[in-house]
């Protein structure tokens, strides 16, 4: 049994699947991370991913271009981000309640719009999704080539956005303002920067990332949109942000760990399907994630002003 698992770990197919599974997770996690670094918890993520999955897919199904679909999904995501921010940033309402509300609203609205536009569809209609693009040269490397360099362009985008988000947060004035807004908004204000604008911008950009993560599922991993397909990925992303201590690099690591466990359990099911009920394998990534969270979250240093609304002119 243990030997079989090691054998799985050595196959290129396993690693390719891991990278495929990690793509929407890393996009969603980066999105959540950007919001939280600015001090705003965005529990709308599950709904915003669903909305992104529907919007991008629908764009293409109605005859649009694939990349146009991604831009459209991002735009819709940003719109929902603005919605979230107007309640949590400008009105200072509970970020938990607003986020859950957005998730319920965005999920239902996605199915509603889908049904409205395609009332007669019985089997989920399909589009032609992003195709794998083998990077010349690099894709010929054994194992790594197939795992890393024979993916769809959206996966490359997801992986490249990790260093990009890191760079913006750590190396640009804007990123500094975002991080400071999540640590001490009064400090941002007293340097003459509009805290509310910084936070709103961060939530909108973060939500756009989430929506692209959702679109990956209907436009790259699958080719159709159906009920419940985000399947809790958004919540996993929220947990991964904590696992990552709010750092993009660690977020990738955490997402890879989860995706790897997920890819492994599918293959392990086939090995031991007879002896162990398959539900245990389905459970495994979540159980191990919880265990990893327990270990990692103890050392997490969260943004000091996370969940704390900022109101101008308030007596402090």
């Amino acid at each position: 049994m243990i030997g079989d698992i090691f054998e799985i770990l050595l196959t290129a197919g396993f690693w390719a699947a891991t990278i495929r599974i990690v793509s929407p997770l890393i996009l969603g996690t980066l999105g959540e991370l950007i919001c939280e670094r600015a001090g705003v918890l965005n529990l709308g993520i599950e709904g915003i991913m669903t909305m992104g999955a529907m919007a991008g897919w629908m764009w293409v199904f109605q005859g649009g271009d694939l990349w146009g679909g991604i831009v459209f999904a991002a735009f819709i995501g940003a719109l929902f981000g603005l919605f979230h921010a107007s309640f949590t940033v400008y009105l200072g309402l509970s970020q938990h309640v607003t986020g859950i509300g957005i998730t319920l609203f965005a999920s239902s609205l996605s199915y509603y719009v889908f049904r409205m536009l395609l009332p007669d569809a019985t089997t989920p209609p399909k589009i032609v999704p992003f195709q794998p693009y083998a990077i010349p040269g690099l894709s010929d490397i054994p194992v790594i080539g197939e795992a890393l360099f024979s993916q769809t362009p959206l996966t490359y985008l997801a992986l490249l956005s990790v260093p990009a988000v890191w760079y913006v947060l750590e190396r640009t004035p804007l990123g500094l303002a975002v991080r400071m807004a999540g640590e001490n908004p009064v400090a941002v204000e007293s340097q003459g920067i509009d805290v509310l604008a910084v936070r709103t911008g961060a939530v909108m950009v973060g939500s756009a990332f989430m929506a692209i993560g959702g679109a990956f599922i209907t436009m790259s991993a699958f080719d159709a949109f159906y009920f419940g397909m985000i399947n809790g990925r958004g919540w996993i992303c929220v947990a991964l942000v904590i696992f990552a201590s709010w750092r993009p690099g660690k977020a990738l690591l955490g997402a890879l760990l989860f995706a790897g466990l997920d890819a492994l359990q599918v293959r392990a099911q086939q090995l031991a399907g007879a002896q162990i009920p398959y539900q245990f394998f389905l459970m495994a990534p979540y159980v191990l994630s919880i265990a990893a969270m327990v270990v990692m979250a103890r050392r997490a240093s969260y943004p000091k002003a996370l969940l704390v609304p900022f109101r101008r002119g308030d007596r402090v």
């Binding site: 640009t172 500094l176 991080r179 941002v188 204000e189 340097q191 000091k304 002119g313």
Partner: protein, 514 residues
């Protein structure tokens, strides 16, 4: 540019600034000038409107009336950015730093266009090093602010203002959090800054500092300017009178005949988290009409004793008798019995800052007949009435009973706690550091109230680090050192020097001499 033309036009002028919070007038038509190269003290009690005025200057608040001129040009109201552009730098009382970010990141925030491709970290490093050399303000740019001491953080705040080329530096109660040594080094820095032409507004209620380190004093009282004097012509008593509005007299103690015992500790042991804080063989009797002062350096068991007497813990050995019954780990029961508690940290354990005044005022009496219907439904109308009465009686300056408690100044918060405790007519009062951090007027008020309670028949345990206070109020004084307590001795027969020796552990000779 001659010297004369500089002195004719003030660098900064307030013209008739008025700011209200609800019915509270925080600033009432304030006008004042600041000249180049001077240190102007803004003196006033807590709640006199000093910080509000500075927050208006820095664009945090917008004044209802009046205007601010910098170099004769009006400053756009409500814009921090405009204030910074005009050369105003502010060091807030509560630092506006992010602990998880580095010194350099804290200093450079907002100094570059937001949408630049990269931060110029190298240039920032050079500039910070130059400023450090010029003004003697040293700070490691790569350290996290969270790892710095309070004094170092303040240095970062000053650097932050200088980095943006501030010509006017506002320091809001800068020495409140500093050790004496750190304060001295701050005053050295201020000298260097004013020598280079900066003007400083120094907010404080400490008269010594103001007399020694400023050029001019503007005194605020209840939101209005009570007077302006040149520091060299000012004296302590005059400033205090201007600040409080009347002669400040610390209350006098009249001798009284002690009554029955309200508290009796007999050979009490009580474990705590550290050896020094654990009580060892403590015996003490406090009677009605009596104040027992407890001296000692913080961390020598005072906290454990306070926890024991307020019902947060119980003794491991020995007898505890509070108001005629054994001590219990049940604060509600002790309060019901007639114990009044003035806790050491009013923000953390004295009040719930997010709740309105009235809820904090009735929190120990919420099931009393006056407040609660049938013993468990709070009658808000009656609670508000009672709160209004207490706010008036104890002179708590606030927007009203519905205001959030955290917005009160320290002195007013302490008055709220006094109102809650004393309105119940307690027979035993545990007063733990009751005047810590308060200004002159509030100190006199709190002390006179404690003496009034003593006259009304309460026994008081006064825990304090301030020997002057202990000697002024106490009938007898005991000293704690490493969890042991000396027997209380009559204040009349003690000197400050005696108590100081006991506080540092020289117990044997003195304690056994009696």
């Amino acid at each position: 540019m001659t010297e004369k033309s500089v002195s004719v036009m003030p660098l900064l002028s307030f013209r008739g600034i008025t700011k209200r919070f609800g019915p509270l007038v925080a600033n009432d038509a304030i006008s004042l000038d600041l000249n180049q190269g001077e240190v102007l003290a803004l003196l006033g009690e807590n709640g006199a409107g000093k910080t509000t005025l500075m927050n208006i200057l820095f664009g945090h608040y917008v004044a209802e009336e009046g205007e601010i001129l910098v170099d004769g040009a009006p400053l756009p109201p409500g814009s921090t950015d405009a204030a910074i552009q005009a050369g105003i730098g502010m060091v807030h009382q509560h630092f506006t730093l992010a602990e998880n970010l580095t010194v350099l990141e804290n200093i450079t925030l907002g100094t570059e266009p937001l949408f630049a491709w990269r931060r110029d970290i190298k240039a920032a490093r050079t500039k910070i090093a130059d400023m450090a050399a010029e003004y003697g303000l040293h700070a490691d740019p790569d350290k996290l602010v969270g790892a710095l001491s309070v004094g170092e953080r303040q240095r970062v705040e000053i650097l932050k203002a200088l980095y943006r080329d501030a010509r006017i530096l506002i320091l809001d109660e800068p020495t409140a959090v500093l050790t004496p040594q750190e304060s001295d080094s701050l005053f050295e820095t201020l000298k260097k800054l004013t020598a280079k032409g900066l003007a400083v507004i120094f907010i404080s209620h400490k008269l010594n500092e103001i007399l020694n380190h400023t050029n001019r004093v503007v005194v605020l009282r209840r939101g209005a300017v009570a007077g302006t004097v040149t520091t060299s012509e000012a004296d302590r008593a005059g400033l205090a009178r201007m600040m409080v509005g009347e002669e400040v007299n610390r209350p006098k103690v009249t001798s009284m005949m002690p009554g029955n015992a309200v508290l009796r500790l007999t050979h009490v042991d009580c474990q705590s988290d550290s050896e020094a804080q654990s009580l060892k063989d403590v015996s003490l009797e406090i009677r009605a009409h009596e104040i027992i002062g407890l001296a000692g350096v913080a961390g020598n068991g005072q906290r454990t004793l306070a926890n024991l007497l307020s019902g947060l813990t119980t003794a491991d050995a020995g007898d505890v008798e509070i108001l005629g019954a054994p001590g219990v780990a049940d604060p509600t029961e002790l309060v019901r019995r007639g114990v009044g508690r003035i806790p050491e940290d009013r923000h953390a354990t004295g009040v719930v800052g997010e709740m309105p005044l009235w809820e904090n005022l009735i929190s120990e009496d919420r099931r009393g007949a006056e407040i609660a219907r049938a013993g468990f439904v709070i009658d808000k109308r009656r609670a508000l009435e009672r709160s209004k009465r207490l706010i008036e009686e104890f002179d708590i300056r606030c927007e009203g009973p519905e205001a959030e408690t955290r917005l009160l100044s320290g002195g007013n918060m302490q008055k709220l706690i006094l109102a809650r405790v004393l309105s119940r007519g307690p027979e035993f009062i545990l007063a733990n550091q009751p005047v810590r951090g308060l200004d002159e007027g509030a100190i006199a008020y709190v002390q006179s109230r404690l003496l009034q309670a003593r006259a009304d028949g309460a026994g008081v345990l006064l825990i304090s680090e301030d020997l002057d206070e202990l000697f002024a109020l106490s009938d007898r004084i005991a000293v704690m050192y490493h969890g042991r307590m000396t027997p209380p001795q009559d204040t009349a027969g003690l000197t400050v020097g005696d108590v100081g020796l006991l506080m540092s552990g020289h117990e044997a000779e003195s304690a056994h001499a009696h």
